[in-house]
Symmetry: C2
Subunit: 210 residues, 2 copies
């Protein structure tokens, strides 16, 4: 069989095709900046879904705040191990950052049971008590995002893209009405893969700007 076998060539060609499709189908579509373009295209690369052109929302300060946070030591807290898996952790570490997911932490399991909340919520409670600069990355759990908004603590950024049918759209709508620096998916769509793609797009942008 004849097929491209070089990962870099596959990725470059993929982004070329995505750009061509956008130019053909949405000739009037405008990206706000190269980083905005990189994020939207990487999410489309991850999902093969061009609806992402229209459903990815950015607070005015989101890109400035997230690039600043990721370019220096900070901790990314994910709601799922899938999002944790998808994030380019060596590249994050090259900027001094680290990434963790507390969903299976014994403290979280205990606290969730004691308080009758989801483990995703208890994981947020534990994360906000830690020292240091924080970015929250939610691809799956609306309850995690609701909890973060309830706690009303300062954070350096939120990637808020829980997917689903119960609370997902509502949680993201609440995020867009908060004062937090955030990227959010409007409506039901989202996912751990989308969350990781957004983080990686920012990391690749920072790497290429070095």
């Amino acid at each position: 069989m004849d097929y491209i076998r070089q990962p870099q060539a596959i990725e470059a060609k993929s982004f070329d095709i995505i750009g061509e499709i956008i130019r053909e189908t949405r000739p009037d579509y405008q990206f706000a900046s190269p980083l905005h373009e990189a994020i939207v295209k990487r999410v489309i690369h991850t999902t093969a879904d061009f609806e992402w052109l229209d459903i990815l929302w950015f607070s005015p300060d989101a890109l400035a705040r997230l690039t600043a946070a990721l370019s220096r030591p900070c901790t990314l807290y994910t709601d799922t191990t899938m999002a944790l898996s998808g994030i380019n952790k060596p590249l994050l570490a090259s900027f001094g950052g680290e990434c963790c997911c507390y969903i299976s932490d014994p403290r979280v399991v205990r606290e969730a049971k004691a308080q009758g909340m989801t483990r995703s919520m208890a994981a947020v409670d534990i994360a906000v008590r830690e020292e240091g600069e924080k970015v929250f990355v939610f691809g799956n759990a609306p309850t995690a995002l609701f909890r973060l908004l309830e706690l009303n603590v300062p954070v350096s950024g939120v990637v808020g893209v829980p997917v689903g049918f119960v609370g997902a759209a509502e949680s993201k709508d609440a995020l867009t009405h908060s004062a937090l620096p955030a990227i959010a998916a409007l409506g039901r769509k989202g996912g751990s893969n989308v969350a990781a793609a957004i983080v990686n797009a920012i990391l690749y942008h920072l790497r290429d700007a070095k």
Copy 2:
């Protein structure tokens, strides 16, 4: 804020909503079996994308072969750590199965470099040399799926849903023309989250049938 905080209640309500939307928007849509319905609905639950009603392809023997394999000791080989993360490994283990991803295995890194192939391809080469019953789970790498088809070895099942713009659709089309027991995503869509959702739907079906 007022929102549902019980994970089981959230999931049950999500599936109810998905069923309602299908009945309203696609009143003539027929599921082939309860397991077919469980798989399609779980993929929609994971993606919030109803296009999955039309793009998930099953070989005639796919469900019988995959349920048989997953109900006894077998090894699932995933192309990404994200798919590995998403699979319910304790439940898989309760049937004697295990799951692994060789993408970062030193042998894979070495062999990919030596042979000028992707690590995803080298991971397949190493997996097929192992003993025991095998199921391949591909959510990301068309080259892995192409490689498996080239090697032409017997496997108990393939979940073939690589996402993307270069080779993804072609690799899945080739899978649907092979003799392998397979579930495939037609076109560009797919993903590690979709791959894990398909495996989990089968595992939950087996658990509930116990």
